[in-house]
Amino acid sequence: MRPVPHVLLLIYTYSFSSPRYAVCSHRRAPVTWYPSTSSYKTAAKVDDTQQVFIGIFPKSHIFIRDESPDAEGRLAEVAAMINNGQSAEVFAQWTKDVAAMEAMKEEEEPFAHLSTRKSFKLAPPPDQANSVRARLPVYPASLRSVSPTESHAPKPLPPRPSLKSGDDTISGAEQPIVDEIASALREWHTLMFQYLARRDYRLFQIVREHIEALHLGRRQLLSKTLSAEETINLRRQCVARLVNGNIVQGLDIIVRHPTWGGLVTVDVEGELDTRSWVSAVRMYAMQVSLAYSEPSSPGVWNLGAFVENATTPGNPAFSSQTALQEHARLRSNSKSLGSLGTPHSPHPTRAKFYHVFLDLRAFVASPCAPGETAELFFNLYKSDGARFVSEEFCAVLNHQGVLARDPTSRIRTIFTDILQSDAQDPIYLVCKIVRNGSMKMGSTMGSILEGGRRTSEASFRDGPYPVGFNDSSTTDVSMMSGRGQSDLPSHFRRPFGCAVLELTQLKQMATEQLEASSTREHTMPIFVPTHENTFSMLHQDILNNNSKEFQKSPRFVGSISLIRPRINWSFYFRAEMLAVSIKVFYGDAGTIIRENTSLLQDTPLSLRLGFPDVVFPGDDRNELYIKLWSGDFTASQTSTARRSVTNFARGQVSTTGNVQISIEVRDQYGHTVERSITQCSGEPEMSQFHSMVFQRTNQPTYGELIKVKLPYHNAQALHLFFTFRHRNVRERSIGRSADLSERPFAFAFLPLFPDSRAFVEDGSHTLALYKADRISQISPEIYLSAPFWTPSSRPDQVVIPPEMQKYAPLLRDTLIIRSSLVSTKFTQNSVLLSLINWDKISDREVLSTILTMFTFVDEKDVVRFLQDIFNSLFAILVSSTNQGGEMDHLVFNALVTVLGIVQDRRYSNFQPVLDVYIESHFNYPTASSHMIRSMNRLLLDPTANETASSLRAALKVWYYLLKFITRSRELQKQEEGLSSASSTEQSEQAFKRELKSHLSEVNRMMSTVAPASIIGTQTIALQHFTSILPELGKVFPIVELVSIATKFANAISMVKGKMVIWKLIMYLQIVKGFLFDNPQSRTLLVDSVVSWIKPHFGKFDEYMHGGDSDAAKDTARIAWLESIRLSITVTAVMLDKLQQTLVSPAILADKIALRQEQYNIDTLLSLLPRYV
């Protein structure tokens, strides 16, 4: 080729991660643009001054030579060597060569296609070319940092094909995920350009985020500063990201080991890396579930979450990414893994719920003057069903907006135990604000004079802390009442406003099944009611957007607002908003508080209203919630109003309405039980609660909730005592000595145990009001004998004792309250009470009636007293009353009813409770034979009307029945341990005989063909048979279990319709179960299972299965396909387990065992094709 006459423009592109060079040339002007390493220096000095990359060189310094791609003629040689199958050595050798001549690498690149073109060398003229090193590779400016010495280090290998990936690193040999990330990033990087070219910026951003997160993750893995658990978490996240990155870009779906990170291997021969081994069928299940995992939306991915998770120990790995769920599900027993998922953990676990942490950050409002307080009541409200989920959290703030009782402390709470079902519906945080101060708010009083006076008075009275909580020990008044100030006549609790916030965080968490959400700040605008009477419903009005009913709170600012309309809004409003931060946790409250001590220690718990699902043994709550709902004081108002008018003839304010209700807990002698009332959580207990005062209404609706702490003893003697007063704003100006209004005009009461046995029922109670003028003359004994409630329809028919009638006649006024008992101690159900106290019932007939009635007791009551119920039932079973077994079937039915609740999804947390009870609380060694007998009695006549349904119910809880039976046998053995061996042996044999007779009864039932109704019972038995095998395993040796299972399977004579499916599912459960894990029983089982499934798959036989019509044929075909799939699944599970034994690390570690096992493998493998 003709030498280049004048000028060269050389463009070198250099891809850092893969050493490919592209060289382009152009001829333009009589100057050489020369990307090089020194600025206008001779090329001979190039080695010394590599720091500068761009420069202009005289033409004389450029040596150009023609060259073919294989200028040195080595390509053929290399190729030949590779062809001879010595590729590995060739490459090794070749690598060395390349390293030695790194400067010439471009030319020797056998597969870089651009090298076939003519390329130009940066080299001195031949006379100066005394060293190959003079010909330096050219780097783009971004490689400035490369030092001269580094440039001589061996370069990565040329591109493929080679037997080593370009991404191999030493760290990668230890942790394959490191290299996996590298190669993925390299691939994605090249694709990024395409996305840009296509203007697919969304994809570009998603991939960019993946790349950044993975890059960071890789660096963290390389730094090896994380703990073992954190590393596993990080690897898991990286693996999930790798998969997701590929899925969004439509690349291959690669199964990597979820925790190890390496590509999974499925080989069963040769050298195995057990860390990344999974069985082939398992690999496939993972492959499918990954392929179907949703690539998450770009917004959800954020680097922050990644980093946070990687560095916070103990945090679950799957915090905010949906896509990670796929792997989460892979790890925990997942549905998508189908039958390869691990069985449920047998250990009893605590139930998990959602818990909402609330932190009040700011209260941007000034509803109260100095000396007054604002009470904030937070709780959670569910719009579906319009009910509050939790009790209230109360915070009393002073006029500066800080906690009145301790201005330095934070205003926090955690709302506990929110159910999954609650969390799926919209849940709102509702904050109601009650102002505790003068009857009217400052704005309406308006005048400087009055406001000033009030302020000075207030500060004079209360000192620096306007609310007298801190000195509560010094005065009787404030000790009596936590709300000391409301005892001051000038202070009333008045409705103010409400703020509502939807907790979308919770819903999001519930759908994504995360363990903890991030903390998020929210603001809640405050609204005030248009009419204060609707205050109790304000939250609903806000939610329903009844804008007539509420407004922003206006503040009187005179003309300023007109002149400067752009002034800060908060200035105009008395109450602007609340700022709260919310964090949601999922788990067991105790554990969460332990794990987040810094955040949650000493945070008051706002409990759930009522029990979640079930009550665990050891759980302890004993409280009564009273919702002060509404009153109707129309009847007595007329007279009072008249009196007020006469007494205070000023006449400008009507005193009708303004009724304040006080509540206290009293014992039978009329003594107040101190400190037994709270406004739920947050604030200290009080002895007397004062309600809000609603102005100018005779029918106020309060909607206030209080919590009464119940004592464990003598609660039967207690009652709630209500007093009613008129509160008048003008009274104080007349003088407190008159104090007329301090005298109650009426009273009411509510005994906690109306019939002194069962607790007062939950729900609405309309209390009767009695005149309180001469209350001092009535003893509690007298009024407690009067009725406490009035039937709303006919109040006239209430019978009042004469003495009561004399001193405290019944008023026509009424008060409606709602009560709700949350107690592990008291019950409202008399049947339950009788059952628990069964030993006091001597009559067998009565006991039988109670046992029969028990089966109708509400499930919610049952689950609360689980332990007591079980204890009573078993006690009856083994008692002297039941010596002849007369009560057996009744007790058995009751037991089955209780256990049947386990079938109910609403009580999903029932199972651990039951396990805990059976493991540690159950103690009736002789119960077993009673239970077996009852069961067999049902099996004797499985189709009779009266027994069929009982039998089905019993079979549904077969597992738990067996569990009770085996546990009672265990207890029996422990007792017998003290006596002689021969008697132990005898009783053991007897017990086995009993069990076997039970099993043979079952088999007899299974073999029955008529009547057709038996199929239902048989199906239930089929579905539950495998669940009892582990329990039987406690009694029988494992080999015997196989024969028990085989006998049961073979007993099923009717194989039609869906029975086939249930039968196959039973086989599946057997091979999934522990029987197939044990080498002894496995060998026996394989043969049986193969013969069981054999008839259910393969070619569809139209003549055998098909009906006459086409539809029948199709249905038969579908049924056949279903049974094929199940049979295939049975085979797959067997293969999975067999393969797992082949690569078990324990066996691989032990050399002798390994040889033995290899021998076994040979045998096994020679058997394997036989099996299927």
Binding site: L163, E180, S183, I254, A285, S289, V1172
Partner: protein, 274 residues
Amino acid sequence: MISPERLLLLRLRCRILESYLEFQNPASLKAIEKIRSPTTSAHNIPVTFPESYPFSLVSNLPKSAPNAVGALENKALYNAGLGETAIVFLTLALSSPRKIWLGSLENIMEIEGPETLAAFLIRMFKVGISILSNDAFPSNWMNANILVHKVLIKIMDPIATILEREFVPEEGSSLAFDINLWREAFHLLFKLLSSEQLVIEEFSPQVYSTCLSYLLPLTCTLETAGCVAPCWRHQRGRSRNPDTTMELSRSTSRRDCGGRTYCSRCKSTVTELL
């Protein structure tokens, strides 16, 4: 000596292949389409190896799948049963060493005669071809596809042995040459050799780095190709199957490109065959 029980169990393996073909059976697909029940309606996410009833027999293909799965292509459905059956078959084959494979094939030959063996082999070739055509699962399910190639390469070796030994009639023998059997065998073999999954140079870096471990077994393929060479010669004179010829030419043309060193031997043997 083969026990009758073992014979019975060998038949079970046939059942797996039959089950696979049954899932592909147009009649089954039509039935799925016709009958409305929880099991026949397509779900978005399939349950792999179901353990509870009801489960759905078909599901929509994942969005990430590049190609519709063969048998149900017009509706882009994933027939979970096909995939599962394929994997069970492959896993079984993977777990059995060559010796066992050969032994079991010989057993069929001895006890049930060449016709049964030929039928069994044809069934197996059909299933293999179907899996290779991504009927069972999409082509971007990398691990599953690696398994397919690995296993097919592995079992073709003993099969070639038995084919060569038992199904090449001696000159002048009364036994007819089973054209169909050989056609299917070559179809599968060439399909395997020409599989896109083996074109290393087109792999993306991720796949490439993960596939290194299975480059080596490719040498087995070459051995297999060598094994079948004489058989091919036998068939040459008798019939030309357009299918196999096409696969073969595709295979060789691909091997030709770029002078890839790793397949040069393959190329030589295959061209020699032609």
